[in-house]
């Protein structure tokens, strides 16, 4: 269920993105679940189609959802796919640290700080 409060200080685009993201990462919407069309969701929520389209575009750019032509927009994210992407990003990070001749312990420290786990 998605809810948009037009009187909220948070822009509708952000409200929609956060709710969809939460439902996908919590497993409420699983990989392969079909999302409503841009037009339908915009009409139901009383917001501009461009707002929904922008939200879908951002989620698509981050690999959370994907557009499959006539099959519409579907959820692409799953815990497995997220793990794979994180592993890939970690490998890229490690390669870059090595190329720069950095200290692995210091690199890890910086990564932890960036993740907010320090």
């Amino acid at each position: 269920m998605l809810g948009i409060d037009p009187r909220s200080a948070v822009p509708p685009f952000e409200q929609l993105r956060v709710q969809l993201m939460a439902q996908i990462t919590s497993g409420e919407l699983t990989a392969g679940a079909r999302l409503p069309t841009v037009r339908r969701l915009a009409e139901d929520l009383g917001i501009a189609p461009n707002t929904v389209a922008r939200c879908y575009r951002e989620l698509e750019a981050s690999g959370v959802i994907e557009t499959r032509g006539r099959n519409g927009t579907v959820v692409a994210w799953s815990p497995d796919s997220a793990d794979r992407e994180i592993e890939q990003a970690a490998r890229g990070f490690a390669d870059r640290v090595r190329a720069l001749g950095g200290d692995p312990a210091r690199a890890l420290e910086l990564a932890r700080a960036a993740l907010g786990t320090v």
């Binding site: 269920m1 079909r34 409503p36």
Partner: protein, 362 residues
Amino acid sequence: MFWILAFSIALAVAGVVLLLRIATATGRARRADALARRLGLAIPPQLQGVIESRIARFTRANAIGMLLAAIVSAPIGYAIARATGDDLWASRGFGNASGSAVNIWPGAGAALVVVGVFIAASAITLRDDTGDEVRFARSTAVGLDDYIPRAQLVLLRIGTIGSGVLAALLAAVAVAAPATLPAALPLIGTGAIGVIALIVFEVFGRRIVAARQPSGSPAELAWNDALRSTQLTQLASAPGLLGYYSLLGCAFVVPRMVELGGAPGWIGGAIGLIVVVLIAAVGVLVLTLVWGRGNPQTHFLRRLWPEVAAQNAALATATTLAQARVDEGLAPASGIDSEPGAAALGSGAPVTDSGERSEGGR
């Protein structure tokens, strides 16, 4: 002609009665309450007015459709009666004798299509009266099979296409042996209108599912789903009934065609018997497949609001068990909720209208 006139008058009277029933606030409330109980979905007090007006709108469209259908079906029935050489005022029953009830089927089919179109129009043109408030929508796409069981969809498509093929076959036979045309005409008409009804269902059904559902709360969205399910079920009844009646008509029409074609009477009788057996088998199959997974009227609850459906089912089971204990003298009768449906509705609504997110819907 007697039958088609009787049918048209009955349709018009039913339409007027329907209009009268929603003419008063009490009538509208009673109708909404009956639907709520049938579907197992509570009407939150703050939504009572909105839901009642939507049900009244749907009922009005249904009633106006019936009145128009009464006018449309009469000339079709008249044309069929004239073309088949029917005695215009005879009221002899089934079969294909003069005054046959089979002759009204194309007109009755056209009436069902007209009513369906009116219902679809009222569903598609639902006004957005939620205002500048919190709006709710489902995060997944929905399809026809979320409102009508897939088995029912498959069977009505097969049945209607089958009746269309049958109509084409009968038309071919009638062209080859023109003497059989008067007997075949009602079924050719029924099959053709059945195919039109299926096209109307497929086109308008998809339009209804794709139409917006402006909802100020999850409970209102659940009720929009409930009304949509009722409208789609009614729209699906036209092709479903016409397909089935076409098959049924074969049992009466084919033996007559065989007789008119000059073949021995026992061949027609055998064909009629086979058709009756087939119809019985199809009927059992339809009932088993459609009802096998529960009441088709509450299919949308199981698909779109599974927690509400589960809660209703649990309450029904508990009530049955409690009743059994009372019957066995193990518990006092006062321990049972006298209106299990009402209790289920009270606690089973997806969510209150407070604007909180529902956990019950998908």
